[in-house]
């Protein structure tokens, strides 16, 4: 699973570099080339989609698919808004037992990918699970229970897994944007309640909209978790059509539909945010202080937070641990299962290759922009990061289309078999798609580090006779090292967690840890899936902890958290 990079105010990452020169043709050309390479798959989907309009009959159930997608996205959006927004409000406006710890712990569900949370949920609530067994034991075998493999269950699981996005953005909005304005409202004679209702909440709206958009994008990009629940979204449609028939036309048409949904989300976010730019300057003021809750209300608040945390993190992780330990005790060989080692190795290899590529590209683009080059280069640099907003199914089909076009071209040039990428099904496609998806977070970290280097440092180095390449090696790279390290870590972890793209693009016989978890879970081999799932969760906790520590530091320092990246 991938998380789009976003700024705290919900805007896409936009780096405006202060340039230090007139641009260098070679470096500028590199940025443009990267932009073209990144944009090609999406363009291919759009062009192919337009080209094949009416060419093939629309798949059966198209209408139902669209409605399901809509229902899922709205449901998950509403669910995350209620859970994430509600919890953010609770921990910001009130004091209650354990609040200070819960504030940070509530982010942890981000570390449990939906495809892991989903199968743990199923194991507990499905026909063979403890809950239904218990109900049958008490009420007899024909007791009615709601269908577990259903849309509402999928909405519940995705909401629990994705609510931290809304929670994080809403909380930072409540903390950072309200203090000065809240003070002003109070001095103008508003009561606490009125100031909160009329000033603080409206000011948080853009952040809520941004969090909502993130959640919906994630929902749209998923086509693995929802399949546990027999939910057929358009993204699932793309996957099934491609894997079932290898029919480019049909898959592309559906991918265009997915893209339209993504555009709708972005447009919707803009509309929700309104024209307002609620960006506030100024030092830390008193702001509104959390109100002390007492008695039942206090413990009720604690219980709500603990419930969300348990459902999204504690229970699934405990269950995974139980299974994994049980497995290991009954058969120690699972720990040294060669498949486990191989798949984890595959995950690591792909993740490392992706991370190194993304960081190298991000560095080159940042460096090129620093050297100047005008609007074209700035625009191209913007273009390189837009992949974060493109759903996995679209990127996947786009990569396939691009490779097949390259093959055709090469064959026409007289090279039989072309690149052979489609035929042999190499890992290159996965890498390509990952780079498109993960360039934005890499660029955000590396760019932030580069931006801290004064342009005069670059100018000085140039005037001392250093070539751009030497400046990159001796000045920019060493000084951007913190950003490079963060970018490498984030991309490696994102790539290990990622599932939909690798499902769609993996060559025959190539399996990663995330695919293995998914396949075992689909076959209901839950105990076996526990160990690799646990490894993924543990890996994914790292950036969450880093994020929490960073936010904590920033809040202590009273500075703004700009980066929201799990």
């Amino acid at each position: 699973m991938t998380e789009p990079a976003t700024l705290a105010d919900g805007r896409t990452p936009q780096r405006r570099y202060r340039t230090t020169g007139v641009g260098r043709p070679a470096w500028s050309a590199l940025v443009v080339a990267v932009a073209v390479v990144v944009a090609t798959p999406v363009l291919a989907v759009v062009l192919q989609g337009i080209g094949s309009l009416g060419g093939t009959a629309p798949p059966r159930d198209l209408g139902k698919m669209i409605l399901t997608t809509l229902a899922l996205m709205l449901g998950v959006g509403a669910g995350s808004l209620v859970v994430g927004g509600g919890l953010a409000w609770l921990v910001t406006a009130y004091r209650f037992p354990l609040r200070n710890i819960l504030v940070w712990l509530l982010v942890l569900p981000l570390a449990v990918p939906a495809y892991v949370l989903g199968f743990v949920f199923l194991s507990v609530f499905d026909v063979a699970g403890p809950v239904q067994s218990l109900l049958r034991g008490v009420f007899g075998t024909d007791v009615w229970v709601p269908e577990v493999r259903s849309l509402p269950a999928a909405i519940l699981v995705l909401s629990l897994s994705l609510y931290p996005y809304v929670y994080l953005l809403a909380r930072s909005a409540l903390i950072e944007q309200s203090s000065g304005t809240y003070d002003a409202a109070r001095t103008l004679g508003s009561s606490r309640a009125r100031a909160l209702r009329r000033v603080v909440l409206p000011l948080a709206r853009p952040s809520l909209a941004a969090g909502l958009a993130l959640v919906m994008m994630e929902t749209l990009t998923d086509f693995a978790t929802v399949q546990y629940f027999n939910v057929q979204t358009v993204s699932v449609g793309v996957y099934l059509v491609w894997k079932g028939t290898f029919d480019f036309h049909a898959a592309t048409q559906l991918a265009v539909l997915v893209l339209l949904f993504a555009v709708a989300v972005l447009v919707g976010e803009r509309a929700l945010r309104g024209r307002a730019r609620y960006h506030q300057q100024g030092g830390r003021r008193q702001g509104f202080q959390p109100e002390q809750l007492s008695g039942a209300a206090a413990w009720g608040a604690t219980a709500l937070c603990v419930a969300a945390l348990s459902a999204g993190f504690l229970i699934p992780v405990a269950q995974l641990l139980l299974w994994a330990v049980g497995q290991a005790l009954s058969d120690a060989s699972v720990l040294a299962d060669p498949r486990f080692v191989e798949y984890l190795g595959n995950s690591l290899l792909v993740a490392l290759l992706t991370a190194v590529s993304c960081v190298a590209i991000a560095l080159a683009v940042g460096h090129a922009i620093r050297l100047g080059g005008g609007r074209l280069v700035a625009f191209a640099a913007q273009l390189t990061t837009f992949g974060y907003a493109v759903p996995g199914a679209v990127v996947g089909i786009g990569v396939l289309l691009s490779f097949s076009a390259a093959d055709t071209t090469l064959e026409n040039l007289g090279i039989p078999g072309g690149t052979g990428l489609i035929v042999t099904g190499s890992v290159a496609g996965i890498l390509y798609a990952y780079v498109i998806r993960f360039l934005a977070p890499a660029y955000q970290s590396v760019g932030a580090s580069l931006e801290k280097i004064s342009p005069t440092v670059t100018s000085s180095a140039l005037s001392l006779g250093a070539t751009p390449r030497r400046i990159l090696r001796r000045i920019h790279l060493p000084l951007a090292r913190p950003g490079v390290a963060v970018a490498l870590m984030l991309v490696v972890i994102d790539a290990i967690k990622e599932l939909p793209i690798v499902l769609l693009l993996r060559p025959f016989g190539f399996t990663t840890a995330s695919v293995w978890v998914y396949e075992l879970a689909r076959e209901n081999f839950w105990e076996k899936a526990a160990l690799p799932a646990l490894v993924i969760v543990l890996v994914a906790i790292i950036p969450v902890v880093v994020l929490v520590r960073q936010t904590h530091r920033n809040e202590a320092r009273g500075t703004t958290t700009r980066k929201v990246r799990p």
Binding site: T20, G21, V22, R24, G372, S454, T456, V457, S459, S460, A461, L462, S463, L464, G465, A466, T467, R470, R474, I475, P478, L479
Partner: protein, 382 residues
Amino acid sequence: MTAQMETIPVPTASEDTPPALALDGVTKHYGSSRGVDALNLSVPAGELVTLIGPSGCGKSTTLRLVAGLERPDAGRISVAGSVVAGSGVFVNPELRRVGLVFQDHALFPHLTVGQNVQFGLDRLSRTDRRRRAGELLDLVQLAHLADRYPHELSGGEQQRVALARALAPRPAVVLLDEPFSGLDESLRAQVRRDTVATLRETGTTGVLVTHDQTEALSVGSRVVVMHDGVIEQADVPEKVFERPATRFVASFMGDADFLPARVHRALLTCEIGIVSTVPGWADSDVEVDVVLRPHEVALQADPTASARVSAVEYHGAFVLHHVQLASGRTLRSWQPHTVRFPVGTAVTVTVTAGTSPTLLIGDRAVTTPPVGARRADTPQDR
């Protein structure tokens, strides 16, 4: 605008060595706003020129153009006789032999002082590099700090390292972009003196950008005043201060008040009476503006006078008096700290003896009577 340039004595210019830096009609526009327009400037080897003007006047753009950080729209820039921009040529900054010293010093924070100074010497062998860096650090008296990192140095020390680093590769010209304005007031004068001494000692050609008029006048052997993207005047400091070429230069380089005046038969008169004689204007009868600097304006208490002291500012050694004349115009006058006329005092205003003030027609200074301003009954002697 740069007409005075050819007449300026330059320290080490000789006929056969090309100027260290030459700008020839250099123009750079940013969208609709003007950057710099048709700049002409020639800096002979070894000269230290100061470039001054209000913010946005184009002085930083000029520096960036010379350094190769911007590409001129038109005109030509030469460094040590070879064209680096213009005429279809554009030499990248790293090949220009132009050194840069910035206000923020821009030291490389991850390199030691020694490594910073050696950075520009990578074409030398290791021993040569060490020796040259050592020379430079000796020159700025920081040899003992070679192993420190920049953040361990004081602001003044950082500035000296930046200078040593810029000088190490023996650039044809060093550009200093407000190098002292980031320093504490107490430190600034000393660092400035040291820097200028180092530049002179090494015979370095330098262009120092500043917005501080005292700095401009005291440091440079020549002062280039820029305004709105053009050079208003380029001359030795005394000339720039005493004979400003334009109304802008007069008011920017020191305080100045302007009064409408008239030159009639070589006699300059204005509201305060006869100011001076103007030799060579015997045949003229022309309306001008006279530039009066506060240190040239004398006051004397006189109950019958129509001018009144309107404000008094105590500046320590001197007291600045604002005087309102009968017409409503104001003049300023520096008085020694022992003299302080209360507000409202009636004073006669005169110009101190020996002053021959600058005359303006329009916004430009004039030294000879304009053609056509002669009296009709005088025969033209052309």
